[in-house]
C-alpha cells in the first residue's frame, strides 16, 4: 500500500475541503467497521429461537430445526444461507478496507489503494445490504410459516397442532427497522468522500511533481498547488 504524508498532497489542495472530506472519510470508515461487524454478527448468530413442536435455532448462515420430532431443512433457509456468502464477502471486504483507511487517516497518511478499496467496498455494500434485507425477509417469511397454524379438520374431527413460538434474539433486532436508504447513505458518503480525497490526492501529487520539475528547471514561482 502506497502511503504518503497528506501535508503536501491534500494539504496543498483546498485545505478546508480536504479536512472536511478527511473527517467524512474517517467517520464513514469507522461506521463501516462498526456496521459491518454488526452485519457479520447478525449473519452468524441466531436470529430466532423456536420452541414448541417445531423447535430449534434459526440464523442466516446456519440453522437447526426439528419439526415434529424430525430434523427438517427448508429450502428457503438453505437459499438464505447460500446467498449470505455475498453479504459475508462484502462485509469482510468493507471491514478490512475501512479499518485500513481509518488507520491511515488517523496516522495522517493518504493511500490511493486504501481510498480505492474503501470506495469499491462501499459501493459493494449497495448490493450487499439489499441482499441482506432480502435474505432477512425470506427468513422472517419462513419463520412465519414455521410458527403458523397447522391445525386442520379431517374425518377424525379437529386436529389441533400446538403452535410454536419464536423468540427473537439480539441479532433479530439489528438492521430490522432502518430503511434501506438510511443504511446505504453512510456508504454513499464514504464512497464520495474517498473518491474526492483520491482526486485531491492525485491533484496534489501532480502539483507537487510539477513544482519540483519547475524548481529543478530554475523557475521561481509559488507552488501551483496553492491556487
Amino acid at each position: 500500500m502506497h502511503a504518503s504524508r497528506p501535508a503536501r498532497a491534500g494539504g496543498a489542495v483546498g485545505g478546508g475541503r480536504v479536512r472536511l472530506l478527511r473527517a467524512l472519510a474517517l467517520g464513514t470508515a469507522a461506521y463501516g467497521v462498526v456496521s459491518n461487524t454488526s452485519i457479520l454478527f447478525t449473519l452468524v448468530t441466531p436470529l430466532y429461537v423456536l420452541t414448541g413442536p417445531i423447535h430449534g435455532v434459526i440464523g442466516i448462515v446456519s440453522y437447526r430445526i426439528v419439526a415434529f420430532g424430525r430434523p427438517v431443512y427448508p429450502p428457503p433457509l438453505d437459499m438464505a444461507s447460500f446467498l449470505s456468502i455475498i453479504v459475508i464477502t462484502s462485509s469482510t471486504l468493507n471491514i478490512a478496507a475501512s479499518a485500513a483507511l481509518f488507520y491511515l487517516l488517523i496516522k495522517g497518511r493518504f493511500s490511493k489503494t486504501a481510498l480505492e478499496a474503501f470506495m469499491a467496498s462501499s459501493l459493494t455494500m449497495f448490493v450487499s445490504l439489499g441482499t441482506l434485507k432480502g435474505i432477512r425477509r425470506v427468513v422472517v417469511y419462513e419463520l412465519s410459516i414455521l410458527t403458523g397454524s397447522y391445525s386442520h379438520y379431517t374425518s377424525a374431527g379437529a386436529v389441533i397442532i400446538y403452535r410454536s413460538r419464536a423468540h427473537p434474539m439480539l441479532a433479530a433486532h439489528l438492521f430490522s427497522f432502518p430503511a434501506y436508504v438510511s443504511l446505504v447513505m453512510p456508504y454513499v458518503c464514504g464512497a464520495v468522500a474517498s473518491y474526492l480525497l483520491a482526486m485531491y490526492w492525485l491533484k496534489g501529487a501532480e502539483a507537487d511533481a510539477l513544482g519540483e520539475v519547475r524548481s529543478l528547471s530554475g523557475r521561481t514561482r509559488g507552488s501551483p498547488a496553492a491556487e
Binding site: I54, V72, P74, P75, T89, E116, T124, V159, I161, Y162
Partner: protein, 353 residues
C-alpha cells in the same frame, strides 16, 4: 489458449441450465439431499428420460430449481423427495423436469482442484503480476468487477428455490378409520395416525337422543386406537329397548404435538334374540354387542295338570349364551319376554323331551 477454451467450456456448462443446453452443471445449495448430495457438490445433469429412484433437476424458472429424487411418477406428474426430508414435495408436472443427474463431483474434489488451478495460473504468470504497475482506479475496478462476477455466479448457479417451506414438514395427521361396538360392550374408535401418536384421552362423553350427555372413560390403545370402556349399561338397554340409534361418542384425545377433538356416530345393528329348542334344551343367544334384559318364565310339570312356574330376570351379556336344560321334566314350556326397538317381544316355546 487451451486454458481459455477449458474455462469457456466450464462456464458454458454452468450456464447450460439457464440457456437450456442438453448437459449442465449445477451447484447443490441445500441440505435436503444429504447424505447423497452435500452443499457445494456439483451435479452433472443430462436431458434424458428418468424413472423412480433417479435424482432429477426440476425447475420452476431457469434460476429456481430443485435437485431431488423421484419417488413417484403418475399421469404427467412426478413426486420428488429430498433424501433428508421427512416428507415428499408437492407433485409437479413432468414437463418441469429439466435434467437427470448422471454424475456428482464432490466439493472436496472440485474446490481444491479449482484453487490449485488458480494458484498455478498465478504462479505461471508471476512475472507479469510483479512487473505490472498499479494504475489509478485498478484496485477499485478489480474489486468491483470481482464482486459483480462472484455475485452473479452465486445468484445464478445456486438452484435453490421453493414456493413454500412447509412442504417439507411431516405435519401430524389423524383420520378416523372406524368407530364400532366391541364384543364386551366397549366402543373402539380406530384412527389412521401419521407423524404422531395418541397419548391419552382428555375428555369422553356419550350422547343419545333423549338422554343428553353422559361422561365416559376411555384410554388409548396402541397409539392409534381409543377404547371407550365404561359405557353405562342403562344406555345400551335404552338403545335396544327404544331402538335409539346412533350413539354419539365425543372424544378429546391428546397426542404428541397437539390434540384431536371429534364426535363419532356409532351405529348399532340391534338384532332379536336367537332361541333354539332341541331335545329338551333351550339355547338363547344374544347376538348384540350390548347386554339385554330378558324375563324368562319356565313352566314345568311331571304329569298333566297344574304346572310349576319359575321366573328369572336375566341380563344377557353381549354375545352371551344361555342354556336351559329341561329334559328332566315331562312337560315344559318357556316364555321369553324382552323389550326390543320400542316394543315388547314375547317368545313362547313348548319343550318336549
Amino acid at each position: 489458449m487451451i486454458s481459455a477454451a477449458v474455462l469457456a467450456f466450464i462456464i458454458l456448462m454452468f450456464l447450460g441450465r439457464i440457456i437450456g443446453l442438453p448437459v449442465a452443471i449445477i451447484i447443490v445449495s441445500g441440505r435436503s439431499m444429504q447424505p447423497t448430495l452435500w452443499v457445494g457438490d456439483l451435479v452433472v445433469g443430462v436431458k434424458e428420460g428418468f424413472k423412480v429412484g433417479d435424482i432429477v433437476v426440476w425447475c420452476l424458472k431457469p434460476t429456481f430449481c430443485v435437485v431431488h429424487r423421484v419417488v413417484e411418477v403418475r399421469d404427467g406428474y412426478i413426486v420428488t423427495k429430498g433424501d433428508n426430508n421427512p416428507a415428499p414435495d408437492p407433485p409437479v408436472p413432468r414437463s418441469l423436469v429439466e435434467y437427470r443427474v448422471v454424475a456428482v463431483i464432490p466439493r472436496y474434489v472440485w474446490v481444491p482442484a479449482v484453487a490449485a488451478a488458480f494458484a498455478a495460473y498465478v504462479f505461471k504468470h508471476r512475472e507479469y503480476f510483479s512487473r505490472r504497475r498499479v494504475a489509478t482506479g485498478d484496485v477499485a475496478v478489480l474489486l468491483l468487477s470481482s464482486f459483480i462476477v462472484f455475485n452473479a455466479a452465486v445468484a445464478l448457479l445456486a438452484p435453490t428455490y421453493y414456493p413454500r417451506g412447509a412442504g417439507v414438514l411431516a405435519v401430524p395427521q389423524v383420520e378416523l378409520r372406524s368407530a364400532s361396538l366391541t364384543g364386551n360392550g366397549s366402543i373402539l374408535v380406530k384412527y389412521v395416525v401419521r407423524n404422531t401418536r395418541l397419548t391419552s384421552v382428555a375428555y369422553c362423553y356419550l350422547r343419545l337422543k333423549g338422554w343428553g350427555s353422559v361422561r365416559c372413560s376411555a384410554r388409548v390403545v396402541g397409539g392409534s386406537e381409543v377404547l371407550v370402556t365404561d359405557v353405562p349399561q342403562r344406555l345400551y338397554e335404552a338403545m335396544i329397548e327404544n331402538g335409539s340409534n346412533p350413539l354419539l361418542v365425543g372424544l378429546v384425545v391428546n397426542m404428541l404435538y397437539g390434540r384431536v377433538s371429534g364426535t363419532y356416530y356409532v351405529w348399532c345393528g340391534w338384532r332379536p334374540l336367537r332361541v333354539r329348542v332341541s331335545g329338551g334344551v333351550v339355547s338363547i343367544f344374544n347376538p348384540n354387542p350390548a347386554p339385554l334384559k330378558v324375563l324368562i318364565k319356565i313352566y314345568t310339570a311331571s304329569k298333566p295338570g297344574p304346572a310349576n312356574v319359575s321366573v328369572e330376570h336375566v341380563v344377557m351379556k353381549p354375545w352371551g349364551r344361555m342354556r336351559l336344560d329341561l329334559r328332566r321334566y315331562a312337560y315344559a314350556s318357556v316364555r321369553i319376554v324382552y323389550r326390543f326397538r320400542g316394543r315388547e317381544v314375547v317368545l313362547q316355546y313348548g319343550v318336549r323331551p
